[in-house]
Symmetry: C2
Subunit: 348 residues, 2 copies
């Protein structure tokens, strides 16, 4: 184990998701957290973080091992895990550009211990640019990604994290495209197991996915339909479920996503099972018609912040285009959201 008895873990993006899993890892007793914060740096350094979580308990004024403002500041040491919990906004900054100081260090001061990058972000193809960048670096690395199924919010300007109800994290590894192919799979499996076991020791409800791509497509089914329609209409989930025409639109969008998913993923029993047509029925039946939930994309718009349109919708469209799958409704959704997004980006 590196750094004496502790694994060094860097969390980039200390919003609700980043902070929640940082705390879970800290709770394992085997990890030292370096938190890269932007808006909540002062609050976190001076007062620490309150946590009110159904899964991880109630805690007052928790301070991570280190709080820093930039990835550059954080890149003074080797990390076993670099957890990316920032919003995925490639039109503003790509993941490799954002992680540049950490990636440079891998080149100039390679460690014997591998570094694992963990992408806790929504969307399809969010790993592509990082994998491409890592294939140019001459040390073995691992890329994991995870889908968080959790209702968690940062309140009080990021001084407090609230998490209600269930929490579930599905984690898996990506196949690096570059060198080290022979050792990569073994390394990835080991790194995935370690991270799962750390989170489990803090009572996290974590699941190692046999195929993380299938899990990611399953999650984007909801985000590409519910999140986008809620955002375009500025309405909560219940409003979008209230009309037959919009329920049909949700179904039609999910059907398009499913078609792209099946065209993009290699055939497998898991794929047929997780991404079957009847999953759409299950999702529609599972949703509460009285829900007043506002998806994070809409919350971003409410606050004038850029939205993850590229990761969530653009990612599906790029895979669809590559496979020659028509996506008329998603194209329209993307076109409309891209206009909204372009104004949000301009007025940042």
């Amino acid at each position: 184990m590196a750094s004496g008895q502790f694994l060094d873990v860097c969390i980039v993006g200390f919003g609700a998701i980043g902070a929640l899993y940082a705390f879970a890892l800290h709770k394992s007793g085997q990890v030292r957290i370096t938190a890269v914060c932007r808006s909540n740096y002062d609050a976190l350094r001076d007062e620490g973080l309150d946590i009110d979580s159904d899964r991880f308990g109630t805690h007052s004024a928790w301070k991570p091992y280190r709080v820093v403002r930039t990835v550059e500041e954080a890149a003074d040491r080797h990390y076993s895990y670099v957890i990316c919990a920032f919003k995925c906004l490639p039109e503003i900054v790509t993941t490799p550009a954002l992680l540049c100081p950490v990636l440079s260090r891998l080149k100039t001061s390679p460690s014997k211990e591998p570094t694992t990058f963990v992408l806790l972000q929504n969307g399809i193809g969010i790993e592509d640019d990082l994998l491409a960048e890592l294939s140019n670096i001459d040390v073995p690395t691992v890329v994991l990604s995870g889908c968080c199924w959790v209702d968690t919010t940062a309140v009080d300007s990021g001084r407090k994290i609230v998490q209600h109800g269930n929490e579930r994290l599905v984690l898996g590894y990506h196949q690096p495209p570059g060198g080290f192919k022979d050792m990569a799979e073994e390394l990835s499996k080991r790194s995935l197991e370690t991270l799962c076991s750390l989170l489990r020791s803090a009572e996290g409800n974590v699941e190692a996915a046999p195929d993380v791509d299938v899990a990611r497509w399953r999650k984007v089914l909801w985000n590409a339909s519910f999140s986008t329609l809620c955002t375009l209409t500025r309405c909560h989930v219940g409003d979008v479920l209230a009309l037959e025409t919009s329920r049909l639109a949700l179904r039609d969008i999910m059907a398009e996503v499913l078609t792209v998913a099946r065209a993009s993923l290699p055939p497998s029993e898991l794929r047929e099972q997780v991404l079957a047509d009847h999953v759409v029925d299950q999702i529609m039946e599972h949703e509460n018609p009285r829900s007043v939930f506002r998806p994070s994309m809409l919350v971003d718009l409410d606050h004038g912040r850029p939205m993850e349109v590229e990761a969530i919708v653009g990612g599906v469209l790029r895979r669809g285009k590559a496979k020659g799958v028509a996506t008329p409704k998603l194209d329209l959704v993307y076109a409309a959201l891209a206009v909204v997004q372009s104004k949000l980006v301009k007025t940042r």
Copy 2:
């Protein structure tokens, strides 16, 4: 000519369009206007209307012959023309329901002089319910409809009408479905000619359309694409024109409208000419990329007022469905706008 030397004309809906053409008819010197006002009744009765129009000139404190609050009040006499310039919102009130007192009078106190209904409203199929209702009434009536190509706005709570630049009104007659078929066409032509000549005598730029349906579809091409995308994105025309993806979406929507139009209208040289594919190019080239114009549908949303989604999008979809034409993008646009509309209707 009825009522001595004057034709009685009732204008229902005294917003910018209603007031502008009411004034033009008044200017002809051959018409007595009864204006049915809602929000601007007090202002109009007490102070009259200021008009600042590039086409019809500048006038101060013009008062119509009569100003009334309701169609019921207006229905104390026979009208040669009943001009409907209210917003077409069939989910709130249908045109026959709104005109009920006038329609009842036709039944109980039929006049020798026919009544012509003139629909100055956007959308497809907006005449359907009125034609159906008139076919149950045992007196000859005429239904004209018109597409207004004019930039006109009511300001100062409806006390003033501003009209800038060009003005063009395309008017034509519909074929009544009920009795009087033999005399209906002749009557309709005469009524259309009279109205055109009245407006022309006030220097109105009015055009008698050989086929009003073709003209209406030509106009809805713009409204179903530009108006809806501007409304969904809450952006002006220039913003929607700024991205390649949204320009493509505008074109795709117009292509769907054209397909429905061609399937719905009988073949004719005019149809091929006015609704050819290259019309989409013409529209796209004609629009100004720096335009900050907000279509009336978006202005309605800005003010929390119900929008003409049913007339403009629903009308196209109903015709498309009747003809088995697929409209995937318009379906999605409709589904999203219907969610927004349903909240606007609820909170009226």
